[in-house]
Amino acid sequence: MSDTPLIQLVDVTKTYHLESGDFMALRGVSLDIMENDFVAIMGPSGSGKSTIMNQLGILDVPTSGKLSIDGRDVSTMTPLERTHLRRDTIGYIFQKFYLIPLLSAYENVEYPLILKNKTRDTTGRTAAMLEAVGIDKEMSEHRPNQLSGGQQQRVAIARALVNDPKILLCDEPTGNLDKKTGFQIMDILCNLHRKGKTVILVTHDPKVAEYALRTIRLDDGRIAEES
């Protein structure tokens, strides 16, 4: 394992230009996340949790400062290069699952593979991923709206994992689930961490944060506490 951080934020700021005036969502955040780390990001609403997740997911770029992911400075990359880095290195798990409604569970998981290989999956990887998260063949033929919240989140995890990304970004992954299902999902994430994935999760729930190796508390766009 390399000593170079997998993710490195150096004095990152993010400013939004609003009609009411400029709003600084991140104020000089510096953070190193090593490979196979398990980081929980917590903080009150408006503290900058979503903004930092958007930065880590390369959905947005910093206003100033430097963000490196897997050794590459994202601010110097073209939009297409950022899209490819996101597709190949990051698996995104959302609170609202965000499965593609027109595709079946199987096709949702197969989708990132198609994006990467430009062809349908003939290797059986999609089916294996679904099986690994506890979705059987019959269930995999259902559309997202025919699945329960827990099942949808399992499909979303399988989708996030199918391209074998180094980083798993989880935005409130248990936020829309009951307690029992939430714990099952967290068990899956812990298992993935044990298998070498770098897991970063945003949560309001201290019990969920306890699964992480370390917790970063954000407040008013700054890192207030790291434990």
Partner: protein
């Protein structure tokens, strides 16, 4: 394309909003039908006229008409020095034409006919009976065999009630140029042996419909002017050779560069003018059809914008998990293309049915309907319909691909 995941997404999106998609496609159906039908109507009209004219398209008409064809200022335009095409000129024409066609010399003048008490007026043509079958079509009866026999045009026959075997008195007073009143009274009567089928409008100005055809011997005996032909028609074997043959004849007979003695003309210029007019008319009709496609384009654009707006969050998901902007654009262009296929397919089928009925009703014949020039308007209309659909989808597709994934995920 069928196996493309983005095509699958587009197909499912269209299926999900099937009624809306079909309604939007109806605009394209109407547009395709309008363009195809208008195009086919215009082309069928043109084909019919061209067909009628092409019956005399192989004819070069040479007249001793004294109208000057040279550049202005080279002489008087009303000189009438020539009284007909001479034997020498005819020989030159025959030599210039050679094996490339048949040369038919004609005498003609306007005169009065009498059958019993019924009188009529028309043109009398004198020609070699051997040329009759080359030049005219007999509807009834036989060709001229004897000196006092004649053929009568269908229109004249109907208007004067002439039938085969009838005798017609022909006035010796001619209104034409050859006037040599040496004819005897006995030769002023002819017996009708055949009725000539209508020639209609022809480019060589020979209208036998309201006329009588007699042998050249009878004509010159009646009106004089032997070997001074009013007109010479050349029926060419290959219409593509007309310009060369005309040039040959011109250089053979019009040796005086300053003064053209014989006028040479053919159907091509007349055909060209009519074809141009009909093409303009067809284009105008197509433009009217095109207006309906503009309306259809607005409808497709509207449906595509609705689709983009309804799928904002889905676009956000696609972009956030690594879909390229170009792939999102492709997905929406596929959707527009599917709407185009639906509209153009249905429009193409309806075009054949409606176009056939319209052409039958307006022109009275569907003889030309399945000719490539006519039926090709169906695929053309379909192609235009599909292109219009895809063009209408360009902006919505661009808009979808330009969305900020974070805003789109929020559903903004």
């Amino acid at each position: 394309m069928i196996g493309d995941i983005f095509f699958q997404l587009s197909v499912r999106s269209v299926k999900l909003n099937f009624t809306r998609s079909i309604l939007a496609s109806i605009g394209i159906v109407i547009g395709v039908v309008a363009i195809s039908t208008m195009g086919m109507l215009g082309t069928n009209m043109a084909l019919q006229v061209e067909d009628q004219l092409s019956e005399s398209a192989n004819t070069i008409a040479i007249t001793a008409d004294a109208i000057r064809m040279g550049p202005p200022g080279t002489g008087s335009s009303s000189s009438s020095s020539s009284s007909g095409i001479t034997k020498a000129q005819l020989a030159k024409i025959r030599s210039a034409v050679g094996e490339n066609g048949t040369v038919i010399p004609l005498y003609s003048t306007s005169t009065q006919f009498t059958r019993g008490t019924i009188q009529g007026r028309g043109t009398i043509y004198g020609m070699n009976p051997a040329d009759v079958n080359e030049f005219l079509t007999l509807g009834n009866g036989t060709n001229i065999a004897g000196i006092n026999e004649a053929l009568v045009g269908m229109t004249l026959a109907e208007s004067m009630g002439i039938d085969i075997g009838d005798r017609i008195k022909i006035s010796s007073a001619s209104e034409g140029p050859p006037t040599n009143n040496t004819a005897s009274a006995s030769r002023a009567t002819v017996t009708v042996v055949g009725i000539i089928d209508p020639r209609g409008t022809t480019a060589d100005s020979v209208s036998t419909d309201n006329g009588i055809v007699v042998s050249k011997e009878w004509y010159t005996a009646q009106y004089g002017g032997k070997d001074q032909y009013t007109q010479v028609n050349v029926l060419v074997t290959d219409v593509d050779q007309i310009p060369e043959i005309e040039e040959e004849i011109n250089s053979a007979v019009n040796t005086d560069k300053k003064k053209q003695s014989l006028r040479i003309s053919d159907a091509s210029s007349q055909l060209e003018t009519i074809s141009d007019t009909l093409s303009t008319l067809t284009l105008f009709c197509l433009a009217i059809g095109g207006i309906s496609l503009v309306v259809a384009a607005v409808s497709i654009f509207n449906v595509m914008m609705m689709s983009v707006n309804e799928r904002v969050q889905e676009i956000g998901i696609l972009l956030s998990i690594g879909t390229e902007k170009g792939e999102v654009r492709r997905m929406f262009l596929y959707e527009a293309f599917i709407l185009g296929i639906l509209g153009a397919g249905l429009g193409g089928l309806m075009s054949i049915v409606i176009g056939y009925s319209v052409v039958d009703a307006m022109i009275g014949t569907t003889e030309y309907f399945f000719m490539p020039a006519s039926i090709s308007y169906v695929p053309l209309g379909m192609l235009i319909g599909m292109v219009v659909c895809v063009l209408s989808g360009l902006y919505p597709a661009w808009r979808a691909s330009s969305m900020d994934p974070i805003d789109a995920l929020r559903g903004d």
